[in-house]
Amino acid sequence: MKDFARLFTRIDQSTKTTVKVAALAEFFATASEEDRLWTIALFSGRRPKRAVTTTRLREWAAEQAGYPLWLFEEAYPIVGDLAETIALFLPSATEETNRGLTHWINMLRGLSQVDEPARKSAVLAAWDELDTTQRFLFNKLITGGFRIGISQKLMTRALAQATGKDEAELAHRLMGNWSPDDTTYHALIEADDPSADASRPYPFYLAYGLEEAPETLGAPDDWRAEWKWDGIRGQLILRGGAHFTWSRGEELMTDRFPELARAVDFVPSGTVLDGEILAWDGAPMSFNALQKRIGRKTVPKSLLRDAPVILYAYDLLEDAGTDIRALPFAERRARLEGLLRNLPDDAPLRLSPQLDFSGWEALRHLRESARDAQAEGLMLKRADSPYLSGRKKGDWWKWKLDPLTIDAVMIYAQQGHGRRANLFTDFTFAVWKGNELVPFTKAYSGLTDAEFRQITAWVRKNTLQRFGPVRQVTPEHVFEIAFEGIHESPRHKSGVALRFPRMSRWRKDKPVQEANTLEDLNEMLRLYG
């Protein structure tokens, strides 16, 4: 694993994309085929099944180091990463070895076959033969979340450099439901017939947020507008009589949304649709209804009845078995309309409507009414644009509504993780109910690093009480909290839950007494919930 550790160190030491990609390309050119395959898997979010719980890892690390568990638990939030805490907490290896990445992955996969004492001795033995960096990576393999500054996109670029293959082709090959168990490096990357996998999706085209006025986009006639839905972006693939539903995060969601199975009754095979999965009761329901479906691998009948989903389609990527992404959007859209014309009301497919508008000013007015349509703003798409892959500027824009805001008082603070370890970045906010402060949301983004440093120094000096890692602080600072939606939630003490809450402004000008109240929050719930 020394060569993989060296790769990690080079990636970790650089903030420059070109350096990271070059290091990875070099690794791809020299590593064994099985290590290459696993590296591709890891950087595309595939990892070995977790064989050991984090609780056991902490206990074993403390025991191996000869320190009490509480000392480990205190060090963890300060280091901010479990794999790193373990790597640093343990004494140095007694005898370093050099086995490959695949060896360690196979060893970890074998752990699920053996009992706990055997797991423990295998993990302790591994810790004792790896240096700190390798130990960190080994722990990352166990705990998952292999995020070390290489996105799938950068990995694909490095692979393209190492193999001389086209980056877009590789991106397509790497999508889909493969795992290192059921393929080889050769079959995945080099073999001639990549189309064998009928489930393979196209890379999604993602829009940037529109920050300038729409007038900067040029003539309104060149553009098409749709509502921007607050659902789950999905790609529905109908090939060979089967259907596959993919999320934007490249997760296969076919079983989560069984309603979409009936799509094969309405649309011919050789069709790939891009659209939004929405909970639907004759009109789009709130995201809150859809939320109940997220994260459920099997869906109980009651939920299928209470929050049924449809695909609200807005683009056509494959038509009659042919990839049509290079065609202009207007042409793809016309074909899409042809496909979905005259479907019955119970079909799980619908056409997301295009909005007529006479000019940018009219569109501005339309955008203001997005919340009434259960939408979060508008999408603007250039009529002659091809379907690109990834986030690209120019042809597609999302023009979201301004968020809702409320002024709230910070009452609890907690340290962040990873890059933000040792800074207080996770806060709980409250509004007034009479003389009492009622917590209603957490937020952890929106401030600059300098502001986080400033609030961190303040928290250290103004802690009233500690509850484990959480500090209760003097109610003194008011923040403007921005959010995208609000709905009822019996699980929260305040009775409401916010969507995408973040700190939009530190209201240093505002005394605590002037923060908003629970009545204000309830009024927002009545208006927008």
Partner: protein, 336 residues
């Protein structure tokens, strides 16, 4: 019969009633005993100062025309009914632990210290005492320093690699102590060493008191990097990203600090390289120093006070937390 404590903890800092003096006070007082010249220990505004003869030149340089008495390591001085002496702390040149004895009871305020001999500061000496005041900047088992020779190799390798890559290595370190320690680790065979003014001023002071440092070139308005092929630039971290740093063209940035042990901190600093090298004791060092004093009472300040205190108590010592005004600054202090 309970006696008054030899040292007490006041809102101005550590105070000795028997000798009527303060140690490293943070508000102006009549008489201040100073452990070392770093800005958070040697503050301006006191009427009288007492420090080691080795610390004096830097303090005069930084604080100007102060009323400063000096004392050698191990020399004894009576102040009121207290007997005072200074002992090497190994933190930076001239740094001291201050021993205070009253009627046979001994307390030691250790300031900042490290056990490893950095080849620059007088090495740390354990002082037996009844009560010991210790810092805890790196009081967690995750902080374990590598041997200095390993870090030396990393830094010199980075210097060579940066030059080969067509970049100027820009190394950030605190001006007093860390910068000179790095100077002694750098290999002058690789190329010339350029310095920022804040570093060079301290170099000059230390050179006049006989501390041997390699040759350095002060960066001035006229300096052109092209005239110094293969050069490394040593600067305070505050100079990074300023117009001053622009004249070096493409740079590879490095920081040298104990905090570089943590990946999160390295990434937040957004430096190209982090070198783990500290003038504070690591976890093993803190524990070894405390054992060496054979003190029963430990007062813990500066750093992970709560955690380290709990650890010491679990080891059968009588430890307690002494809050300072500076808790909020610890993590991002470059001098660590």
């Amino acid at each position: 019969m309970a006696r008054d404590p030899i040292l007490t903890f006041t809102d101005k800092g550590i105070y000795c009633p028997a000798g009527d003096f303060f140690i490293d006070p943070w508000r102006p007082v009549d008489r201040a005993l100073i452990t070392h010249g770093h800005a958070d220990h040697a503050r301006p505004g006191h009427a009288r100062y007492l420090a080691t003869d080795l610390a004096a030149p830097v303090m005069r340089h930084r604080l100007g025309d102060i009323c400063l008495e000096t004392i050698g390591y191990g020399e004894k001085l009576n102040l009121g009914s207290a007997l005072v002496s200074f002992h090497p702390a190994g933190h930076v040149p001239g740094s001291a632990q201050i021993r205070v004895e009253v009627a046979g009871e001994v307390w030691v305020a250790s300031g900042d210290y490290k056990l490893e001999d950095d080849g620059l500061s007088t090495p740390f000496e354990p002082v037996r005492c009844h009560s010991f005041i210790t810092e805890s900047t790196f009081g967690l088992p995750v902080f374990r320093w590598q041997a200095q020779k390993d870090v030396r190799a990393q830094i010199n390798d980075w210097w060579r690699a940066s030059i080969a890559d067509g970049k100027t290595p820009l190394l950030g370190a605190y001006a007093l102590g860390k910068a000179q320690r790095l100077l002694r680790l750098l290999d002058p065979e690789i190329g010339p060493i350029l310095t920022h003014g804040a570093v060079e001023n301290t170099n000059a002071v230390l050179r006049t008191q006989g501390i041997d440092l390699p040759d350095t070139v002060l960066v001035t308005a006229e300096t052109k990097i092209a005239d110094h092929p293969g050069a490394l630039v040593l600067a305070t971290p505050s100079a990074f990203g300023t117009p001053w740093a622009r004249k070096f063209g493409a740079v590879s940035t490095g920081f040298a600090s104990g905090w570089m042990q943590l990946r999160g901190v390295r990434r937040r600093r957004a430096a190209d390289r982090g070198f783990v090298i500290s003038d504070h004791a690591d976890w093993e060092g803190l524990n070894a120093a405390i054992r060496g004093t054979r003190a029963e009472n430990i007062y813990v300040t500066h750093g992970y006070m709560d955690i380290f205190t709990r650890w010491l108590n679990s080891q059968g010592l009588n430890a307690q937390v002494i809050p300072t005004e500076f808790e909020g600054e610890t993590l991002d202090e470059a001098e660590a």
